[in-house]
C-alpha cells in the first residue's frame, strides 16, 4: 500500500510543556485511522501538526512525500488536505453555498459556475441542498458540521482530517454527521479522525491509535484494540468510556 502520511519521531511543545513525545505512525492511501484517548492526551495537536496549523519542534512529517516543515508553498500544500473542526468554523459572513465556493474560486481551481455546480453536488451528498442560500447562523450544529465537511470536500482533497467533529453536537445530531463521514470512508477517502465516538472507531476505522499523555500507547486494528487491548492504560480508558454508568 501507498503511504500518504508518514510521521517519524515527532516532538511538539507549548513553551516548556511537551505535548507530543516521540510520535511515529503511518497512514496508507484509502485508510481510515481513528485517534482516541483522554482529553489533553495530544490527539488534536497531533492532527493539527499534519497540515502545519501547529509548528513542531523535532521529527519529520511527510504528507505525499512532502516534508511538512520544509514545504515551500504551504497554501498549495494545504489544498490537498481537508480539515473539519470541532466548532465547525463556518464563515458567518457568507451563505452556505458561498462558504463552499469561496476557496475553490479564489484559488482558481474552478470558475464560479463550476463551483456552484460542485456546491450543489456536495450539498446533495450531505443532504442539505435546500440550505444552499441561507446563512450559517440559521443552521443546527449537525447541519453546520455537514456543511463544513462539504466545504472541505469542495477542494477535492486527497486526505481529510477530522478534529473531534461531533464533540460539540447535541446527541441527536451526532448520527447525521457520522453517517456522512461513514459514506465518505466507504468512497475510499483517506481519513484521520480524532474522536470520542468509540462506535464509529470500532465500525469504520481500519486502524485505531490510543494516545495518552503525549504518547502513542497502543496502535492496532479496532477489533483487537477494543476487545483485547494489551496495555493497562488502554484498558482503563476503554472500560471507563464504554461503561460510564456502572462505576
Amino acid at each position: 500500500m501507498e503511504k500518504v502520511i508518514e510521521v517519524r519521531n515527532l516532538h511538539k511543545s507549548f513553551g516548556s510543556l511537551e505535548v507530543l513525545k516521540d510520535i511515529s505512525f503511518n497512514v496508507e492511501k484509502g485508510e481510515v485511522l481513528c485517534i482516541i484517548g483522554p482529553s489533553g492526551s495530544g490527539k488534536s495537536t497531533l492532527l493539527r501538526c499534519l497540515n502545519r496549523l501547529e509548528e513542531i519542534q523535532a521529527g519529520d512529517i511527510e504528507v505525499f512525500s512532502t516534508n511538512v516543515t520544509k514545504v515551500k508553498n504551504i497554501n498549495k500544500f494545504r489544498e490537498k488536505i481537508g480539515m473539519v473542526f470541532q466548532l465547525f468554523n463556518l464563515f458567518p459572513n457568507y451563505t452556505v453555498a458561498q462558504n463552499i465556493m469561496l476557496a475553490p474560486v479564489q484559488l482558481g481551481l474552478m470558475n464560479k459556475k463550476q463551483a456552484d455546480a460542485k456546491a450543489v453536488e456536495l450539498l446533495q451528498k450531505v443532504g442539505l441542498e435546500e440550505k444552499k442560500d441561507v446563512y450559517p447562523e440559521t443552521l443546527s450544529g449537525g447541519q453546520k458540521q455537514r456543511i463544513a465537511i462539504a466545504r472541505a470536500l469542495a477542494m477535492n482533497p486527497q486526505i481529510m482530517l477530522f478534529d473531534e467533529p461531533t464533540s460539540a453536537l447535541d446527541p441527536e445530531m451526532v448520527g447525521e454527521v457520522l453517517k456522512v463521514m461513514r459514506s465518505l470512508a466507504d468512497s475510499g477517502m483517506t481519513m484521520v479522525v480524532v474522536t470520542h465516538e468509540m462506535n464509529f472507531a470500532r465500525e469504520v476505522a481500519n486502524r485505531v491509535i490510543f494516545m495518552a499523555d503525549g504518547y502513542i500507547v497502543e496502535e492496532d486494528s479496532p477489533k483487537k484494540l477494543f476487545t483485547n487491548p494489551s496495555n493497562k492504560r488502554t484498558q482503563a480508558f476503554l472500560s471507563s468510556v464504554l461503561k460510564p454508568l456502572e462505576s
Binding site: N51, L53, N75, K76, F77, R78, E79, I81, G82, M83, F85, L87, N89, L90, F91, P92, N93, Y94, L102, A103, Q106, L107, Y135, E137, A148, R151, A152, M155
Partner: protein
C-alpha cells in the same frame, strides 16, 4: 420666550459659522486619524518587534495626555520653541488626529482580535493565504464588531473640538464665548450651542444605527 428666539436669530449666523468650523475640524481629523489608525493597527499586528513597541508607546502616550494639554503644548509650546505661529485650525486638526488615531487603532486591533481564531484556521486549512484570509474572512467580520466603537469615537472627537477653543479656533464654543462677551446672555447662548452639538450627534447616532442594521445579516460585502 419670544426674546429667546429673537436672540437666537441674532446669534445664528455667527453660531452656524462656528458650527461649520467644528464640523470641518472633526471631519478632517477623523479622516486623517482613520488612515493613521489603520497604519498603527497594522503595526500592532505585525510580527516586527520594533513596530509593535512603537505602537504600544504611541498609544500609551497619546491616551495619557489630555487633549487640552496636547493642544496647548503644540500651539504655544512647540510654536514658541520653533519660533513659529501655528494656524490654530491646523494645530487643532493635528491634535485631534493624533488623539483619535490612538483610539481608532485600538478599535481596529481589538476588532480583528475579536474574530474567532478558528476562522483563520478554517480559511488557512482550505489553502487561502494570509491576505485572502484577512480580506475575505476576517476583516468583513471585524468591521461589524468595530462599527459601534468607531461611531463612539467620532462622537467623542466631535465634542473634543470644543476643548480647542483654548487655542482660539473660531469653532462653535469659541464663537459662543465671543457672542456672550458682547451681549452678557450666557444662559441663552450656551443653550443654543449645546442644542447644535446635540443635533449633530443625534444625526450621527441615527446614521450609526442605520449602518449597524444594514450589516446585521453579514451582508457586509
Amino acid at each position: 420666550m419670544n426674546d429667546y428666539f429673537s436672540l437666537l436669530l441674532e446669534c445664528l449666523p455667527s453660531l452656524l459659522d462656528g458650527l461649520q468650523t467644528t464640523v470641518i475640524m472633526a471631519a478632517a481629523s477623523l479622516v486623517l486619524a482613520f488612515v493613521l489608525g489603520l497604519i498603527l493597527a497594522i503595526f500592532s499586528l505585525s510580527k516586527i518587534k520594533i513596530l509593535t513597541v512603537f505602537y504600544t508607546v504611541y498609544v500609551y502616550i497619546v491616551r495619557g495626555i489630555p487633549v487640552m494639554i496636547f493642544g496647548l503644548f503644540l500651539f504655544f509650546g512647540v510654536g514658541a520653541l520653533l519660533n513659529i505661529k501655528f494656524n490654530p485650525l491646523l494645530a487643532s486638526i493635528i491634535t485631534l488626529t493624533i488623539n483619535a488615531s490612538a483610539y481608532l487603532a485600538e478599535i481596529f486591533r481589538g476588532g480583528i482580535k475579536a474574530v474567532d481564531i478558528g476562522q483563520v484556521e478554517a480559511a488557512r486549512s482550505l489553502g487561502l493565504g494570509y491576505f485572502r484570509t484577512m480580506a475575505l474572512v476576517i476583516i468583513p467580520q471585524a468591521v461589524k464588531i468595530m462599527i459601534p466603537p468607531i461611531i463612539n469615537q467620532f462622537i467623542t472627537t466631535l465634542k473634543d473640538t470644543s476643548i480647542l477653543s483654548v487655542i482660539s479656533v473660531r469653532e462653535l464654543t469659541m464663537n459662543s464665548q465671543i457672542i456672550i462677551a458682547r451681549n452678557y446672555r450666557p444662559f441663552e447662548v450656551y443653550s443654543y450651542a449645546a442644542a447644535m452639538y446635540l443635533i449633530i450627534i443625534i444625526i450621527l447616532s441615527l446614521f450609526a444605527k442605520y449602518i449597524e442594521r444594514r450589516l446585521q445579516h453579514g451582508k457586509s460585502n
